[in-house]
Symmetry: C2
Subunit: 738 residues, 2 copies
């Protein structure tokens, strides 16, 4: 069966067309119920179905199966933003390896992950799945994750190729941008990851780019992906993406998922009537079969049908904790020995958000560790009266928000409980009996819904509670800690001075209460860094006005049923005048996304990209820097100069010389993380990149251009905190045409 | 702390009274939520609470706890009747050891089990918890179960002491019987078990006996139990049993559970005003403390808080299978190699009854293996069209039976789906595509509800379906197998000729589908025997008219709420004219219960006590029998004369001589089970009992009397199938006064 061409010769046209089409999503009587789908099988030719399951932070599969007493639990790992906040590719590798093990243990072949779209705007509804506003972080973290998954013989599907940066009208939205922006920001993360990890498959996106569906765009899926980057794997569509099956086939979007009869008919007819060359179809079939023969299913690998949930919970906890970012700390953290009893405020303290939602995690997982549980397991007392109050409050909010009970299925994130404000007397009592107050603020998001701008801001009740708690505890000389358990940045500037410490946990997975506790009590010294800027206000970022920030999402009724019926989703809307930010979105900001914008235009932010505090201090010593054979290299010795052990992230930003294309004032070109350093201990990190990584794309000449002149290399702890700068001169400019 | 008397001296009166009263049932914030309760703690004296959990077939405990991400699963073992049907004390020991391990692993101290009341009537709502209509089976199986639990350092509470044989009006029902009946039948199982296993505690019953609450009856809990039988453990009340706390204290019902304030006040006042001697209270406190110091909690044993569910599932499956009784078989079982595809009829095939319900198992357990799953796991095809039909049927029955959804809590057994009758065309299609038909008939029961006589009979639809299936398959020369997945006997005589084989599985635990499949396919050769007679009609048994067989139970509204609020349950009803079978029940049949009646009065039955077929045949050879030093002994060599390996149960029944008290024509006095014998292999069993075990109780002289004369010893395979009889003479009568 190694001779795939012979097998293709033996296939009927019907079989070939079936082979480039999925077999529908997996219903309750499928081999793997609740998973994304499979490829077509042709038993007479020894071709089995290959099985696809959604990710990225959780293998998505029904826990129960019909007439089966087993429980098919999978681990809820940290969301992408938490993984990225580790700034540690090894951590991403560990998560990938563990989730790949689960896919393997349960007998499937390809995990539809990772999601690597750029965080263009803080309100994008899938930001939790994504990694960063910076393409280098995206690419390095994604490559490590993919290598982790694929180390288990399981395929990945890096997604969504490309520019899938908004959920509103996601099947038809048309981002409009120049080539430079596309290549330097929205393709760059893909390019780095694909070159460093060779994912088995690539998933195109729902959206268009400059008027063309990504799944039907030959420039994207053939010219750039295969011809320029050398990719030779399989390209599959996002589920029900695109509209023209024949264009997809020609473009090299080899497989259409989950497969529709109208796609089958269109392709079949097109070959019959000569509109589609059969050799194009054969080429695509061959790529599908090349995947099939790599799969565990084809190779009849046996699998245990259960997985080591305890080991994976430990990995989830470890990486989830490493991804927590300490934003501020006036010395209250880690807890002193005097802290014994803790008052927990905020509904989210009792009902934490483990990870993002979407098809990758329709319901939350097997369990979510609350902050109550995390603190109790660390032998802290949690105020019991307050627990009872919140239980009552959450029960009444549940009735208010879901008067008819929760819908059996909802892809949109269910509304979350608001806050209540204790009376002054209650607060006084709480201050008296507790050593410290913690207030957790929660935000969840889900495909296919973008966040409304009001989700960026704290609610009236959240702000009032924060103020009341802060006043009451501070009057008594006691401290207040804020925990952000969020999908994507929220407003912090207006209230951050009210807190003695702020922790940003993003969504660190099922062990969330343990992760936060490990940081609070100093069991783990925080080493996470922000992969995304926390702006002062919505509107500050250059992209903010070109995003559907005030769009009121209404869930179509078919989403509220009890199943995965998504018929009609891919119907094109009737032609009316296109609406800005809905039908099309203008990327006016160009390359000025995230810190590239704030930094270049001297805009104040609340917390800069790359920011993250530690319980210890570090000294940086640049012991060497050089350019040799187009490789730039910096050696930095990092010394732990504080009293507790810890890890540190070193970030290298580049300032390009004048004279070439206009550039952001700084761009991240390398980063590295030390091992856990004991007090006094040092480690020397060597950070490298290629000179052409400092080039920019010139739309006019369609080439990557490296300007000559003096480059500043900033060795920094965040985009706003440079520790040391060295200079290197590039003597001659360089140009690579594509 | 070994000097308990010193500790008692140090206790205040308040503390002493608290110590003989439970602390209420365990709510959601208890140490062990959803368990039965605990004893009072006095930290200043180093006295911790001892924790009680309900059984007998499942450690009853909430699966989830507040703010705790663990799952506290426990194994659903076979119901008592299935355990007894093994006729194998080693099997009962294994179940006891496994469930004792779970209690230990989860950190508790006492399992409120086993239930050993006699199956006086087939409609008793708790028969599933009980063992047999014969007190020897009861006593031997109970002793083994208790020894199994207590081998793990966990206490038991043999219950309900005594004569708790009906659920209707259970808090006040007054069984009326003579002393002989009480002692030979209703106490005998307790006596055997207590002497052979020393249970840590004994639980008195809700009911009265001859006008007195069992928990307030000094004859029962002191004179007989302690003075005659030598019991020196703790006696506790059933939960909210009895009405007079002081009488309980005096009677030696040492502890009242789960404890009520009015009990506390009554005892406290009674000691204060001299109505209750403090030394009686001290005696009872001492018995409580003797239990406390034996407990794992007192001894600070650490526990893993998880248990080996896989190992226990295997034990549940093994014993559940060994307890299955093959009632008839015309050669269709085990399945021949020609059987590949199976048609499953009966709603219960898809929704099996793992075990009985009640406080010991409020909801069913972690999972129940259906017959579909059992057969599939053994590589049989199950008719898929029929599966879909039953899924539709069950869904519509669910709507019919629970138009407002299932109540969150119901102690009464929820109604079960009725049957539908396929059309002739559907049946013809099913006959064509299947090799054999299986029809499972299900019956569930639960405290505090007795079964209505209509539950003994098949419904109109069950009979119609049975007839339709039988006609259709037999016309095509195909076979029909009936599986009884029942709490207690049902009517079989009218329809048994329609089946090619009948299997009685009772309720073999969570693995039920695996257990039945193991028998169907001959993976396990059936060796279970009926511990209870299957009568032809309700009304045939001597007790039948003196039982509330047509009582229409109405669940009090507080049972339908969402919690364990059972306030008011123990309120005495207002005095009106006592109603027969409700307020009191006359045990007119005396000692003529079960086969003692049918056998003595030559009443035909459908399946006799002790009956159970095998896939092989056995030869019996009595090689020795003797009476020495008051020990009777029979040696029987059992040889497997068939073609497959198997186990056999040997039963020894005694016929007493004329001249003494009137006796049943036969009474079981010993039984034994071989190991798994290969074809041709033999084992010699030695079965022994004491001569006084053949005595009877004379009410007039209050003594056990052994008549002299010729005793027939019947070596038998059932009460109706004697293989060999030997005679032994007792030369002089004997009398032991009590």
């Amino acid at each position: 069966k190694n001779n795939i061409d012979e097998v293709i010769n033996a296939m009927t046209l019907e079989e070939k067309v079936r082979m480039v089409i999925g077999c529908g999503m997996s219903g309750p009587d499928a081999k793997f119920p609740g998973t994304a789908g499979r490829s077509y099988e042709i038993p007479r030719l020894g071709i089995p179905s290959v099985y696809f399951a959604d990710g990225p932070h959780k293998l998505a599969m029904s826990v129960r199966r019909e007439f089966d007493s087993n429980f098919y639990y999978t681990t809820e790992f940290p969301s992408g933003s938490t993984v990225a906040a580790t700034f540690n590719p090894n951590a991403a590798y560990e998560v990938g390896k563990a989730i790949g093990t689960e896919v393997k243990d349960y007998g499937m072949d390809v995990l539809l992950a990772p999601g690597v779209n750029l965080m263009r705007n803080v309100l994008c509804g899938r930001n939790h799945e994504y990694y960063s506003e910076d393409p280098l972080i995206v690419g390095k973290i994604a490559a490590a994750y993919i290598n982790g998954v694929q180390s288990q013989g399981i395929g990945t599907s890096i997604k969504h190729f490309a520019a899938n940066n908004q959920e509103t009208n996601r099947y038809s939205n048309d981002p409009q941008m120049d080539q430079r922006t596309l290549r330097e920001l929205y393709l760059k993360g893909f390019e780095i990851a694909i070159k460093e990890s060779s994912p088995w498959t690539i998933m195109t996106a729902y959206n268009k780019i400059n008027g063309k569906h990504t799944s039907e765009n030959i420039d994207l899926t053939t010219t750039i992906l295969r011809d320029e980057w050398g990719y030779n794997g399989l390209v599959i569509s996002d589920w029900n993406a695109g509209s023209d099956a024949i264009a997809s086939m020609i473009a090299g979007n080899d497989m259409l998922q989950p497969g529709q009869e109208r796609q089958y008919n269109a392709i079949y007819e097109a070959v019959k009537n000569g509109q589609l060359e059969e050799k194009i179809l054969d080429r695509n079939v061959k790529r599908v079969l090349e995947l099939v023969v790599k799969s565990n299913t084809f190779n009849n690998k046996s699998y245990p049908n259960e997985t080591d949930l305890k080991a994976h919970a430990a990995i989830s906890r470890k990486v989830g904790t490493e991804g927590i970012v300490l934003l501020t700390n006036n010395g209250v953290l880690p807890f002193s020995e005097k802290v014994n009893q803790v008052a927990l405020y905020g509904s989210t303290s009792y009902d934490m958000v483990p990870a993002g939602q979407g098809f990758g995690s329709l319901a939350f997982g097997r369990y979510t560790v609350s902050l109550v549980e995390g603190l109790r397991n660390a032998n802290y007392e949690v105020d019991k009266n307050l627990i009872r109050k919140y239980q009552t409050h959450l029960a009444s909010e549940e009735k208010r928000l879901f008067p008819n009970g929760r819908p059996p299925f909802s892809l949109a994130p269910p509304p979350r409980a608001d806050e209540f404000i204790p009376t002054a007397e209650e607060l006084a009592e709480q201050v008296k009996s507790n050593d410290v107050a913690i207030f957790t603020i929660g935000r969840a998001s889900s495909e296919p819904v973008d966040r409304h701008v009001r989700e960026f801001y704290l609610t009236e009740n959240e702000l009032a509670l924060l103020k009341a708690v802060s006043d009451a505890y501070h009057s008594a000389g006691k401290k207040v800690i804020i925990v952000l358990n969020i999908c994507s940045p929220v407003e912090t500037a207006s209230w951050k001075s009210l807190a003695d410490a702020i922790i940003c946990a993003f969504q660190p997975g099922q062990e969330v209460g343990h992760c936060v506790t490990d940081i609070l009590i100093g069991k783990v010294n925080p080493s996470g860094k922000l992969p995304v800027t926390f702006a002062i206000n919505y509107g500050d970022a250059a992209s903010d006005k070109n995003f559907p920030f005030d769009y009121e999402f209404k869930m179509p009724s078919f989403f509220m049923g009890s199943g995965l019926s998504i018929q009609g989703e891919n119907e094109e809307p009737q032609e009316v005048k296109p609406v800005r930010n809905i039908d099309y979105t203008v990327y006016e900001e160009g390359i000025y996304v995230g810190y590239r914008y704030f930094d270049t235009f001297n805009k104040n932010v609340s917390f800069p990209f790359g920011h993250g505090l530690s319980y210890t201090t570090f000294n940086y010593n640049v012991i060497n820097s050089s350019v040799n054979d187009d490789i730039c290299s910096v050696e930095v010795t990092v010394t732990n100069t504080g009293n507790v052990s810890g890890k540190e992230v070193v970030q290298v930003y580049i300032t390009a010389p004048e004279g070439g294309l206009k550039k952001p004032s700084k761009e991240l070109k390398a980063f590295g993380k030390t091992r856990e350093l004991n007090p006094g201990e040092s480690e020397t990190l060597t950070l490298t990149w290629k000179t052409m990584d400092m080039s920019s794309f010139n739309d006019k000449s369609s080439s990557w251009e490296l300007a000559k002149g003096k480059y500043l290399w900033h060795i920094a702890t965040s985009a706003a905190d440079v520790k040391s700068t060295v200079e290197h001169k590039i003597n001659s400019s360089k140009k690579i045409k594509v």
